[in-house]
Symmetry: C2
Subunit: 391 residues, 2 copies
Amino acid sequence: MSRFPSSQSTSAMAEEPTKVGSAGGGDREGEDEQVVNPWEVTAKDGGKIDYDKLIEKFGCQRLDESFVRRVERLTGRPAHVFLRRGVFFAHRDFNEILDVYERGEKFFLYTGRGPSSEALHLGHLVPFMFTKYLQDAFKVPLVIQLTDDEKCMWKNLTVEESKRLARENAKDIIACGFDITRTFIFSDFSYVGGAFYENMVKVAKCVTFNKVVGIFGFTNEDHIGKISFPPVQDPYFRMTRDVAPRIGYQKPALIESSFFPALQGETGKMSASDPNSAIYVTDSSKDIKNKVNRYAFSGGQDSIENHRKYGANLEVDIPVKYLGFFLEDDAELDHIKKEYGAGRMLTGEIKKRLVEVLSELVERHRKARALVTDEVVDAFMAVRPLPLMFS
Amino acid sequence: MSRFPSSQSTSAMAEEPTKVGSAGGGDREGEDEQVVNPWEVTAKDGGKIDYDKLIEKFGCQRLDESFVRRVERLTGRPAHVFLRRGVFFAHRDFNEILDVYERGEKFFLYTGRGPSSEALHLGHLVPFMFTKYLQDAFKVPLVIQLTDDEKCMWKNLTVEESKRLARENAKDIIACGFDITRTFIFSDFSYVGGAFYENMVKVAKCVTFNKVVGIFGFTNEDHIGKISFPPVQDPYFRMTRDVAPRIGYQKPALIESSFFPALQGETGKMSASDPNSAIYVTDSSKDIKNKVNRYAFSGGQDSIENHRKYGANLEVDIPVKYLGFFLEDDAELDHIKKEYGAGRMLTGEIKKRLVEVLSELVERHRKARALVTDEVVDAFMAVRPLPLMFS
C-alpha cells in the first residue's frame, strides 16, 4: 500500500486509485492581505477568512445542499454535523467519488498530520472526526500519513523527537475510533522506500524549483529538504492534482474544511505558542471551564441592558461557533442561536453549555486514548494485508 | 548498514565511519574554460585537463611518491598500477585513513555508479578495479551504491529501466572480483528508507538551494528531484565533507582518479552517444582491433621518415596512455615509451600490443561476468550481516 498505488493491476485498491483528503488550500502572500498557505493563515486586517474568495481563488467547488443530500441518499445515514453545517465547505471532484461509489466501484480515503506537538487540540481533531465518519459511512479503506520528516525539517526537531511525536499523535488519532481492519497509519521516516520512494522520484521529476516557489513561496535560502518535500506528501494537493495525470494516476478528489477558530476569535488558526488559544485533548474539565470563561471571544453586548436590547452578534461569537462544531443536536443549536441572537440568553449560559459539551468530548477522547497501547499503535502501523478493507 | 552509520555505537563499522571513495571533483563553468563537474568534463580549447589546476581549485592534496611508498609499506604488497603511475593523482585526508589503519582501527570503502548505460566501458572499470585492489590490500568492507534514482531523473529513464540497468551494471561490477563476504551493493530505489532516509533528511536540512546552485550549478528551471538529490549520494563529496561534521559524522576521505581518455584523444571523457569513442566490455576482439586501429589517436609522425627522425609525441598518444592504465609490466611499458618516443617503434606495433592487452582484459571480464547469475546479484545486494568483513 503506497501513497499512489504502484500498479493499476493487482489490489482492489489500485483499481480506482481516487482519493479523498481533507486539507486547506494553498495561497501566497500577494495582491490581497488574506494569506492562506500550508504554513500560515491570516485574515485581512484581523477580520474573518473570506471562504468565498478562497473558493474563487483556488477554483474549488462549493459543497452545497444538493451535495449533502446526495451523500445522505448514497450512504443511507444522516450527513455528519460538519457536512450539514458547512464546516466542510468546498471540494474538488468529490462528485466523481460519489459517482464511483454509486457504480459500486472502489475508492479509498487519505488524510494525514504533521506531528509537531505533543497533544492535539480540537482543531486537529476536526479532520479525523470527519474522516472517521466518511470511513464508517462509505465502508472504505483509509491511509493516514504522519509527516515526521516534514516536522523534522520545518520545526527543526531531531529525527528521534519527530518520530516520537508521530507515535504520540498516532495514539490520539486512533482514539478517534478508526477501524483497524480498514486503516493503515504510517510515518514517513518509517515507511519511505520502495514503491513510495519510486513515486517521490516520479513526482519530483515533474516539478521545477520555479513551480514550488510559485505554489509554496520557497526562497533560495530555504534548505533543499523543504524544496524537495512536496513529492513526499499528498496534502500538497494542488501540486499532486497537477502531477498525478502526468505520471499515469488519477487525480485525488478533495474535501476542504474551514479553519477551526482560536478561542480569541476567528482571525486565524490556533497557535501552539499560545496554549490559551485552544482547547487541548489533554485539558482537564477545570482547564476547559477556565479557558472558555476567560478567553472565548463573546459576541454578547457589553451590558445586560444592551444585550437584552440588541442581542448577541453570532457572526463573531466563539462559543456559538464551537457549539456549531460539537453540539450534535440541531434543534438545541437552533434554539440557542435564536435565543442568544435575540438577547434572551446570556453569554454565561452559552459558555456553560459549551464547557459541558467540550468536557464530555475531551473526557471521551481521554478514555479512548488510554486504551491505545504501543501494541495497538504497532498494529495500525504494521505493513500488512487488509483483506476486509472493502467489506 | 547505511550510507552514514546511524549510530556511533554498535557495529565495528560504525566505530570509525571514515570512508574512501573514488570520484572526480566538482566545478562550475565560469572564469576559465576548463569545466569539470559531476556531469561534464571539458578541457580548455580542446586541450588536456589541467590536473594541477584541479588540485589547486578544489583544494585536494597531491598523491605523491611518499604516499605510494607508505601504502606499500602498510599493506605489504606493491602498489596498484593506477597508484604507482599516477592514475589516482589526488586525495583528501587519505593520509588519515592510513593513520587509522596503522593504529589497527577500522574503516570501510565506498564507491558507486549511476547506471545509465547497458554495458560499461573501460573508463567505468577503472574505479572498480582500483577499489578491488584497495579491498584486497586493506581487507576492509566495501559499500557500492547504484544511483538508479539519479539516472531516472537526469536521463529521464523510467523507474523500471533504471532499476534494470542497475542490476545489469551490478553484474559487471561483481565481475571485477569483489569479495562477497565484505561487499554490500545496493540500489537507491531498492534501499532508500529507514536510517538511510533519516540521513537524507538530516543532510538536506544543512544545505540551502543557493548552496546547491553554487556547488552543482542548478537553475530555477531544474526539477526539484535534481535539486534534492545531493543528500542521497555520497559522491557529492564536497558537500558531504561540509555537512558530515555538522550532523555528528566524520568526514569521508577521498581518492581521486584522472579521467580515462576517449580513443579520439585526451580532450574529455568518453561519450555514450559515440560508441567509437570507447572500448566496451561487450566489444569482441575484432571490435577492439577495429576501434584501436581506426580511432585511437596517435602521437606518431605523419610519415615513417619523420617518425624515425622525431619520434612519437607520447603526451598525446592514446595507445601509450591506454597501455599506461592496463599493461601491468613496468619494464615493458618503459621499453615501449622509450623506443616509441625515439621513433624506433611504429604506431602499428604499439596498437597491436594494445589490442592484445585490451582483448585479454575484456575476455577475462566477459568470462567472469558470465558467471554472475541473478542469484549472485541477489546475494551481493541482500541486506545481511557480514561477520567476516574485517577478518
